[in-house]
């Protein structure tokens, strides 16, 4: 969908919005649904999140800036919606008093300091991929917002400022959240880290 058409529909309202909603669905549903499904792991929740996002898009259309791209703007609204859903579900487990955290940190520091072959080549092996999948699934189940944000950082190269806007947190709170992401990844992925860094 062309962003100028979008902005015009936003100004006109009424039937123009109906046409634009149809156009948005045709242009972006599939790509947003996949992202929703990847993050929420539930077909109905993903479809609901995308439809809710399209509604929010129209509630906020006057804030869309002409120089921006439409899809990243809509995707940010979807991600924000998904973070809200995950927070409402309150599935995050606390890291407090987790003794494995300290041991995992120490072990990974030790392993990643060793001279190793290129980890990207290692990751491609089936064993590593299966191990990662197993660890990552648990990470997503028990710490979904951190896993989701790590995925989005990786996919879109998010900066500190962009993560701060996404989370709607202060820069300081965002730094703390990123630190938590790194620590939680170490805990949940420790088995995979050992496999990747420990085989050389």
């Amino acid at each position: 969908m062309d962003r100028l058409d979008f902005m015009q529909a936003c100004r006109e309202g009424g039937r123009a919005i109906e046409r634009a909603l149809r156009a948005l669905d045709a242009a972006y549903f599939d790509v947003l649904f996949r992202e929703g499904l990847r993050t929420l792991r539930d077909t109905e929740a993903a479809r609901d999140a995308v439809q809710e996002t399209f509604i929010k898009v129209w509630r906020r259309c006057s804030t869309f800036q002409a120089q921006s791209e439409l899809l990243p703007w809509i995707r940010a609204i979807l991600r924000n919606d998904m973070l809200d859903r995950m927070r409402r579900n309150n599935r995050e487990l606390s890291l407090e008093d987790d003794a494995v955290s300290v041991e995992a940190e120490r072990r990974i520091d030790e392993l990643s300091s060793q001279a190793i072959a290129g980890p990207q080549a290692e990751v491609r092996t089936r064993e590593h991929a299966e191990c990662f999948q197993r660890c990552w699934t648990r990470f997503e189940e028990e710490s979904p917002t951190h896993a989701a944000v790590i995925t989005w950082i990786t996919q879109d190269g998010l900066t500190n400022e962009e993560i701060s806007r996404l989370l709607d947190r202060s820069p300081g709170a965002t730094r703390e959240f990123i630190s938590q992401c790194r620590k939680r990844a170490r805990i949940y992925l420790v088995e995979w880290y050992e496999l990747v860094f420990g085989e050389v």
Binding site: D48, I150, R182, L189, F197
Partner: protein
């Protein structure tokens, strides 16, 4: 670890500063490669569910837009026409099942019809939705269930002619066979008896 480790980790994870070869950078680089590889694999078989085709989806979206005030409600003349039609169907939908109700049958389910949506009321809407979904699936079709604004809903595209097994499920729940191939059901919570 200090903030600088987190900053380095973030930069490498995001694909920036990739020439760095410190331990934290290696760790982030490995994680980045694994996440990207996993995303590539996991999206390969993630196609949107065929249970809800595009037209059904758009209708649900527009209905939601009307409910939330993003779109104006349907025009008054249309509403009046449908209001009259719906009133007649409501009377039929409530009276006939009530007269035909088997002795001791419970809990009560109230049925109305508005435009092309069959609206049901049941003490436990989610349970009724799940029951209808299971039965329709067993009848050989692929309905999509959803939940929006406190309502449980089912959308399904019916093969034509509508198979006997599907007709039997609809008849069991006293849901009329739709005139076109689209079955749309919404279930709200009934007031406590």
């Amino acid at each position: 670890m200090t903030d600088s480790f987190d900053d380095k980790w973030l930069d490498v994870l995001a694909g920036r500063d990739v020439a760095d070869d410190t331990p934290v950078a290696r760790e982030a680089r490995a994680l980045r490669a694994a996440v990207l590889a996993q995303q590539h694999v996991s999206t390969a078989d993630m196609e949107p569910s065929p249970a809800m085709n595009r037209e059904q989806r758009v209708r649900a979206l527009l209905a939601r837009a009307r409910e939330t005030g993003v779109l104006p409600q349907a025009r008054r003349a249309t509403r009046l026409w449908w209001g009259a039609a719906a009133a007649g169907m409501v009377a039929l939908a409530i009276t006939v099942p009530w007269l035909m109700r088997a002795p001791g049958e419970s809990p009560p389910v109230v049925r109305t019809a508005d435009e092309d949506v069959v609206r049901l009321r049941a003490p436990d809407p989610r349970a009724l939705k799940q029951q209808v979904l299971v039965e329709l699936r067993e009848a050989g079709i692929s309905p999509a269930g959803y939940e929006a604004f406190g309502r449980q809903g089912i959308d399904a595209e019916l093969p034509q002619p509508v198979p006997e097994a599907v007709r039997a499920v609809l008849a069991k729940h006293r849901i009329p066979v739709p005139k076109d191939s689209i079955l749309r059901i919404e279930i709200e919570a009934a007031a406590p008896q």
